[in-house]
Amino acid sequence: MKVLVPVKRVVDYNVKIRVKPDQTGVDLANVKMSMNPFDEISVEEAVRLKEAGTATEVIAVSVGPQQAQETIRTALAMGADRGILVKTDETVEPLAVAKILKAICDAESPDLVILGKQAIDDDCNQTGQMLAALLGWPQGTFASELKFADGKLDVTREIDGGLQTVKINMPAVVTVDLRLNEPRYASLPNIMKAKKKPIDEKSPEEYSVDISPRLEVLKVTDPPQREAGVKVETVAELVEKLKSEAGVI
């Protein structure tokens, strides 16, 4: 089984982002960038499938600037076999990313595409579902467990109120949620080995995909700020205030 793992380079989750004063976006200058945390989980799952003998090859793909190569290297250091960088300096919306990934799937014929449920920058939660639609494949979203049997895939999904299991045909697209696994740290020898693994460089044009945005960003602003309230001394005072002042109990 061949597995494709799309990965995105995003602002590191520990960074407190700042909105630019001219409201054109979020300041990305000199900000630490990392692999989208949900994508780390999808890389880990793909590598585990390979270690278990279920997968034969793991291909890491990223759509982004030259530096997205570092994100692919991280995936290679975790155990992916080779990489494809689709290089562009433009902002690429989920629909366009899905179209590029579809073209890569047409060329590579993977049996499974496994990706993070959402990126922590644009919080769209779209790419996996869109790719499944374009390919006409089923989708197992927000996965917390995968079981392969008889050419089908059982996906346990995190849904409102609990867990749901669906059985989907292969090939399939899976998007992963937090509890699927705990991603490994790449060891130093594996980081060194990853430097020798091949990364193909492509462009959106080579896949004949129009990446021009459909959504125009008019502005980006700070969220409404909440002011700190008062400190209460005792539980009795708290209950009194909630009752008479706030009127919420």
Partner: protein, 313 residues
């Protein structure tokens, strides 16, 4: 052209998320049609027809739609899409699952989790876990939108829309429902509860959440948790409030032993009143709390239960 709202329901009754999505959809300015897709869901269609602002209800009753799996849902909505200029769904796990599939089939860029409708083509949505707000204008002829339901008021009763039935003609048959394990609880659901009491790493163990449950029972509240408490294995993931869990906006949110990481604040900072109980007075949660109590939670929480009892709750 009309706006199509995809209803969230459990085949017996409409979920509150639907009422809120109808309000967001009505703000687009076009007549609203509600699609109830499910199995044995005729009564849900009747319920939707009585809501104010609804012009028409479509009921698609088919065993293949019982759990609203993305593949048949997308096929159904695409078959109906010709009549609509916008397709709007709640950003529940169901909506998040099928909506982008519909959008891609329509070659439309989805606008996810809107919190405000500025005009029929311009919307505000949170990015970076709510640490920035993005205003976007869509140029797509058919817009596909998901709605962060906590940002909109619920549509009220006061309508009598006609109900029509439609059918699923083209189920791709590539997916099937196997089973569900839903958390059993008599308490309200996190996303619709008026009061929520959540515990963090400070709770120290899953057993200690029993203290919160006692308070919750007095207040008819839901019990939530921070990601730290989930990661530590105290409670299951569906308790999680935050960037990577559920986004809630109750009347009252009580944070117990929660430090207030950005990721948690992103999920609850739109609550009307926030209470923080934490022994560390420097904890960032106090910066967003309306009422802060610096105290050992193991003393304060049982005391809270007692005081609520005294107050007649």
């Amino acid at each position: 052209m009309s706006t199509l709202v995809i209803a969230e329901h459990d085949n017996a009754s409409l979920r509150d998320a639907t009422h809120k999505t109808i309000t967001a959809a009505a703000a687009l300015g076009a007549p609203v049609t509600v699609l109830v897709a499910g199995s044995g869901c005729a009564s849900v269609g009747e319920e939707a027809s009585k809501l104010a602002g609804v012009e028409k209800v479509l009921v698609a009753d088919d065993p293949a739609l019982e759990k609203q799996l993305a593949e048949p849902m997308a096929a159904l909505v695409i078959s109906l899409s010709g009549d609509y200029s916008a397709i709007v769904a709640p950003a529940t796990t169901n909506g998040k699952n099928y909506s982008p599939r519909i959008a891609a089939m329509l070659d439309s860029a989805q606008i996810s989790e809107i919190v405000s409708v500025e005009s029929p083509d311009t919307f505000i949505r949170p990015i970076y876990a709510g640490n920035a707000m993005q205003t976007v204008k869509s140029s797509d002829a058919k817009k596909v939108i998901t709605v962060r339901t906590t940002a909109f008021k619920a549509a009220e009763e006061g309508g009598s829309a006609p109900v029509e039935s439609v059918s699923l003609t083209d189920n791709p048959g590539i997916s099937e429902y196997v089973g569900e394990e839903l958390s059993k609880s008599d308490r309200p659901e996190l996303t619709s509860a008026k009061i929520i009491i959540s515990g963090g790493r400070g709770m120290q163990s899953g057993e200690n959440f029993a203290m919160l449950e006692k308070v919750a029972d007095k207040l008819n509240a839901a019990v939530g948790a921070s990601r730290a408490a989930v990661d530590a294995g105290f409670v299951p993931n569906d308790y999680q409030v935050g960037q990577t869990g559920k986004v809630v906006a109750p009347e009252l949110y009580i944070a117990v032993g929660i430090s207030g990481a950005i990721q948690h604040l992103a999920g609850m900072k739109d609550s009307k009143v926030i209470v923080a109980i934490n022994k560390d007075e420097e904890a960032p949660i106090f910066q967003v709390a309306d009422y802060g109590l610096v105290a050992d939670l193991f003393k304060a929480v049982p005391e809270l239960e007692e005081e609520l009892g005294k107050a007649g709750l």
